[in-house]
């Protein structure tokens, strides 16, 4: 891999042609944006407590080195080494020299080693010799071949392991640093480590080398900064700088580890992956090397994948303790990324000592991962495997686990049936919901016909029926529902005779249940007349009849609905069904001519059928019923009628209904009723209230009809039982006739009556 170079310092002449801080020289080929970004990063200020006029030895020993690695705007990686160089060409202190390598990636390959390894590279330049700092423009720098570079051994595994072992507690501290780094990357809070100039790069090196190479190159580091505002993801600092490691400052901006002053910011305890990696670096660097070797060549892992990848590695390399592993994470990672042979992962997983406990919220994720692995391994019936079955059963026992699993399995009917058999179908609500979800999904599968046949063979009606429900739910109106049924009947039911026989009533009912009354009753009449309804399963039969009796209108008259009412009544009688209200019976009572058989009707039963009906509908029924009945009623029947109407459920609506019925009668019927009411004995309760309403109406009628009044004067006094009734009526009639308002009303009625008649 080639690397382009750029060098920055305060010099007499550089790329600007003027003196001062600037790019002294660079390789051709570095983009202008990258060069500006490099310049922006190339800063160095010595610690405030560093020697003011350092000797050459002090420069090399006492000033921290800033090794920075970061990504440039063009996407190329940059790694730079900045050192304090003391005085510049003008003799002023404060100069520094930054040497940057721009790494040109070839394909997907990574630069050799970890960024920290570059601190040991022998190709770095640390100052501009005065003899080279002339006025003439500098030559472009050549590219460097990093494959030939020598990185030394300062940051090798043995050196870092030895460094951790030098003092007790370093391993634990490193694990905490890693935990903070992972957390900080997620929260965009840097981790800052303060240590002496000698130890600082080693701490940064240890921390960086706990990460896979691809990840490490993605995380910006700087082994030295003096200002917290310039912190990058992993930053080192040394000496007296603007970094404060007191509680409030570090909490606000960074996770701090002050290894000199002992101050340590928040960061929390190390998790298991961090602790494992730190322990490996300290005690088993070879394990860490093997782990990274296993990851090498694979695409860069996300930070959240670091823990799962470690667990997957441990699973595949002999770790057998299920409780120690993040099962959900490692399976998801193995299913998502081609990190290992799926068969190998499954074998290792099911060979664990005991099945891992899966949290409810993770069950679908785990099952999904296992199925994906099984599919990748070419083993589609994973649940049939002796080791896998208990796991699936255990997962299914979680809340909603069965549905989640079924929704995740493949599209093979045999697989589905196998799994259904494994899980057990007990007809519970959960099973129906499961069937519905699956059935709705089947419709879209190309292999649906074969799958359906397998289901029919297995008697998995819930699933097949679920498919129909899925289709039905997508229909917006009756037309679409009809078309869907036609399609389903031709495409599915015709090929599945057993299912058709068992499910047709249900399918029909699902259509009827969604149909409007105008669509429902004709269909119902057909079923009733043809006897189909009687053959329905009891609960479906009851659902149909219930809807019919709830929605059957009492009017207007119509032969079709009358027939439905008649058939329903017969069915109810036959099966001894009781409805409340009994709309069929009420509708039949309103048919023309029914009132002629009034004496024969069992009035109590009829009015009992009104129970449960609303007041408005009850009043309307009574008005229409009484208007028919009162036309031909005799005195005896009228008295029976009055007695039957005296029922608590309908008492409030009877007087008004009776008065309304009177308005629909002809003069002969009214004359006859007037005679009944004059002869009526004093009564209490409902009959008294009806009498008052009727008397008031009839007096009004007689006062307005002189001919009928004269006839009444001639006949009614002679009536037996009239008593004092008629003289009292006469007084009221005379009073009414003299009332000016009555006269005006009579005149108006006459005028409007004529107008109305002319219009008609």
């Amino acid at each position: 891999m080639n690397a382009l170079q750029a060098r920055y310092t305060s010099c007499r002449s550089g790329l600007t042609g003027r003196p001062g801080f600037q790019m002294r020289s660079c390789s051709s080929g570095i983009a202008a944006g990258d060069l500006a970004a490099i310049e922006a990063r190339n800063s160095y200020r010595p610690p405030l407590d560093a020697p003011a006029a350092p000797s050459a030895g002090q420069l090399a020993r006492d000033f921290p080195v800033a090794l920075r690695s970061y990504r440039l705007p063009s996407g190329a990686l940059a790694i730079s080494r900045t050192v304090y160089s003391g005085r510049d060409y003008s003799g002023r202190w404060g100069n520094f020299f930054a040497h940057t390598l721009v790494l040109e990636p070839e394909g997907e390959g990574l630069p050799p080693g970890w960024p920290i390894d570059y601190l040991d590279w022998n190709g770095w330049v640390g100052c501009l010799p005065p003899e080279e700092d002339g006025e003439e423009p500098p030559e472009p720098l050549p590219a460097v071949d990093l494959e030939l570079a020598d990185f030394g051994a300062s940051f090798g595994w043995p050196a870092l392991s030895a460094f951790l072992g030098r003092e007790p507690g370093r391993e634990k501290l490193l694990a905490a640093m890693l935990e903070s780094l992972l957390r900080g990357l997620a929260e965009r809070r840097p981790v800052v480590v303060k240590a002496g100039p000698a130890d600082l790069p080693l701490w940064i090196g240890c921390l960086q080398k706990l990460l896979p190479r691809a990840t490490a190159w993605e995380i910006a580091i700087s082994t030295y900064e003096d200002d917290p505002r310039q912190s990058v993801a992993l930053t080192g600092t040394s000496g007296q700088t603007y970094y404060l490691f007191d509680e409030s400052a570090s909490r606000q901006r960074f996770f701090g580890f002050d290894l000199v002053g002992g101050g340590r910011g928040e960061g929390g305890e190390a998790g298991r992956p961090a602790a494992t990696l730190a322990s490996w670096l300290r005690h088993q660097p070879a394990s860490l090397e093997r782990y990274f070797g296993w990851l090498d060549g694979l695409p860069a892992l996300g930070l959240e994948e670091l823990g799962p990848s470690l667990d997957l590695y441990r699973l595949l390399h002999g770790e057998r303790d299920a409780l120690e592993l993040d099962t959900t994470g490692l399976l998801a990672l193995a299913a998502r990324r081609p990190l290992a042979d799926p068969r190998e992962v499954l074998d290792a997983f099911f060979a664990l000592d005991g099945l891992p406990a899966i949290a409810t919220r993770d069950s679908d994720k785990v099952v999904q991962s296992l199925l994906a692995l099984a599919a990748a391994a070419g083993s589609r019936r994973i649940w049939r495997e002796p080791l896998a079955s208990p796991f699936f059963l255990a997962t299914a026992q979680l809340a909603g686990g069965k549905e989640k699993m079924m929704a995740l399995v493949g599209r093979d009917g045999h697989d589905l049936c196998d799994l259904l058999g494994l899980l057990g179908r007990d007809g519970s609500a959960a099973d129906r919901a499961l069937g519905r979800a699956l059935g709705a999904a089947i419709e879209t599968w190309p292999e649906a016909p074969a799958v359906r046949e397998v289901f029919e063979e297995a008697g998995a009606w819930e699933i097949l029926f679920g498919e129909w429900l899925g289709r039905l739910e997508t229909c917006a109106d009756a037309g679409e529902r009809g078309a869907a049924f036609a399609d389903y009947a031709g495409g599915v039911l015709a090929r599945l005779p057993r299912f058709r026989e068992a499910a047709l009533p249900w399918i029909s009912w699902t259509l009827l249940a969604r149909a409007s009354p105008q669509e429902f009753f004709p269909a119902l009449r057909g079923w009733l007349a043809g006897g189909g309804l009687q053959g329905f399963p009891p609960d479906l039969f009851r659902q149909c009849v219930d809807r019919a009796t709830e929605e059957l209108p009492l009017g207007p008259p119509g032969a079709e609905l009358d027939e439905v009412a008649l058939l329903l009544s017969e069915l109810a009688r036959e099966r001894q069904l009781h409805f409340s209200p009994d709309r069929a019976r009420l509708r039949l009572a309103l048919r023309p001519g029914s009132s002629t058989h009034l004496g024969k009707l069992q009035l109590d039963e009829l009015f009992g059928a009104l129970e449960g009906l609303g007041e408005e509908e009850s009043g309307e029924f009574l008005r229409r019923f009484l208007a028919g009945a009162l036309r031909a009623v005799d005195k005896e029947v009228h008295e029976k009628l009055m007695a039957a109407l005296d029922r608590p459920a309908i008492q409030p609506v009877v007087p008004d209904a009776y008065a309304a019925a009177l308005r629909e009668l002809d003069d002969a019927a009214l004359f006859r009723l007037a005679r009944f009411w004059i002869q009526a004995k004093a009564a209490g309760g409902l009959a008294r209230r009806i009498g008052e309403v009727a008397e008031d109406f009839l007096i009004d009628w007689l006062a307005g009809h002189p001919a009928e009044l004269e006839e009444a004067k001639a006949r009614f006094p002679r009536l037996r039982d009239s008593g004092a009734g008629w003289p009292r009526w006469l007084k009221r009639i005379e009073k009414r006739r003299r009332n000016p308002l009555f006269r005006v009303r009579g005149w108006a009625n006459g005028v409007f009556g004529k107008i109305s008649a002319r219009r008609q």
Binding site: R12, E39, R41, R45, P51, R92, P190, R251
Partner: protein
């Protein structure tokens, strides 16, 4: 001020006071911090900060944090999200630019000027100069005062070369912000504050003036400034170099000749002034390193004396020095400089000063600091803006 707009003392962008967001100042334990994307973008700062609370209503004076319920009065610049000084909106914000070529002595001048204003001139003129924020206190202490007045290793030392503002290090890019209170007496003779101004000083690196990008912070600092102190190194003038012993002369820096014309172009372009119209920004042209020039200046000249600013700006002294320097420049073949100044700037004056008053040794250590006339250009700028009366005037 509040209605017509403010200028951020950090990014030098204009904004209206009613548009400033606020920052929740509650500690992280009580209100979680978050990344301030704008601050991070403009200043390259990492790490989470207190929540940014958008302004609510017309000209709000504070904002309530929806998370912790704490009231915050800490205003932020809408453009760069830096915390604005508490005086913003109450007093006028003046930006005084100190510019000059590389090695002209800008950092030393700034360091000594602030110290003089605080310790000597301030008490004389009843001027109180206070840093506006902790960052200014820290930066001035560590980068200027400590090495120059206290010294590292117990020895005073010249300042390090200023790093370029093109670098990401925001300490370099962040100006020093001060609040200057001018005291006086009321009708009854009682003490009172008669004016308060916010002063912004940006320690520019000479090389940054080469950037032609008008949006660069350092350039906005110049063309939006209310007064410019242009430091010129007289040791770069050929006639001066010829008359001084060659030892210890600085290397020739060709950019010194161009600095004024580059600055003029920058202001004309940045402020979009029509050609031919003089720039109204007061320009103080100050020749630094006066102590090195002493052999070339006649002993009777006013330059050798100290101005007496007790009771007000010594205008007569300034006028005398201005005339003398113009005469010296004419004698040193610098007529082009005089022509440029006359032609482009409506108000200008020449000054001579020495920040350190002595030469450092080979290692850069200073035996003492004897500043000469460092306050003159600054006080002249205050006088031009009516903030400081001339001595003897009423």
């Amino acid at each position: 001020m509040g209605a017509s707009g403010e200028t951020c003392p950090y990014c030098f962008e204009s904004f209206r006071l009613g548009h400033t967001p606020f920052r929740c100042l509650n500690p992280t334990e009580r209100c979680s911090a978050e990344i301030d994307e704008k601050r991070s973008e403009v200043w390259g700062e990492a790490g989470p900060l207190g929540k940014v609370l958008p302004p609510a209503g017309f000209s709000p004076k504070d904002a309530l944090c929806p998370q912790c319920g704490e009231l915050s009065r800490q205003r932020l610049c809408p453009h760069c999200h830096m915390e604005l000084p508490r005086t913003i909106g109450q007093f006028r914000n003046f930006i005084f630019a100190i510019i000059g070529a590389k090695e002209a002595g800008k950092s030393h001048y700034l360091a000594v000027l602030i110290e003089q204003l605080r310790q000597q001139i301030g008490p004389e003129l009843k001027i109180l100069l206070e840093p506006a924020n902790d960052a200014t206190i820290r930066r001035y202490r560590d980068d200027f005062h400590q090495p120059l007045y206290r010294g590292r290793d117990g020895r005073r030392q010249v300042l390090d070369a200023t790093r370029s503002a093109r670098q990401r290090a925001s300490a370099v890019r962040t100006p020093l912000v001060y609040v200057l209170s001018i005291q006086g007496r009321d009708f009854f003779g009682r003490k009172k504050i008669v004016a308060v101004v916010t002063l912004t000083f940006f320690d520019t690196a000479g090389e940054d003036l080469d950037d032609e990008n008008t949006m660069a912070t350092v350039n906005k600092y110049i063309y939006r400034s209310d007064g410019i102190i242009l430091l010129l190194d007289p040791l770069q003038i050929l006639a001066v170099r010829e008359r001084l012993p060659p030892a210890r002369l600085p290397t020739i820096n060709s950019e010194t000749r161009d600095i004024l014309s580059r600055t003029t172009k920058l202001i004309l372009r940045g402020r979009q002034f029509p050609a031919g119209r003089p720039i109204p920004t007061p320009l103080a042209i100050a020749f630094s390193k006066l102590d090195r020039l002493a052999p070339l200046i006649e002993p009777h000249m006013q330059i050798h004396c100290d101005a007496n600013h007790s009771g007000g700006f010594d205008l007569q002294d300034a006028q005398a020095v201005d005339s003398e320097i113009q005469a010296l420049l004419a004698g040193w073949d610098c007529g082009d400089l005089l022509g440029q100044v006359e032609g482009h700037y409506a108000r200008h004056a020449f000054f001579a000063l020495s920040a350190l008053g002595c030469e450092p040794d080979d290692q850069g250590f200073l035996p003492r600091i004897l500043p000469r006339r460092v306050e003159d250009p600054f006080l002249w700028l205050l006088h031009c803006h009516g903030l400081l009366k001339a001595r003897g005037s009423r």
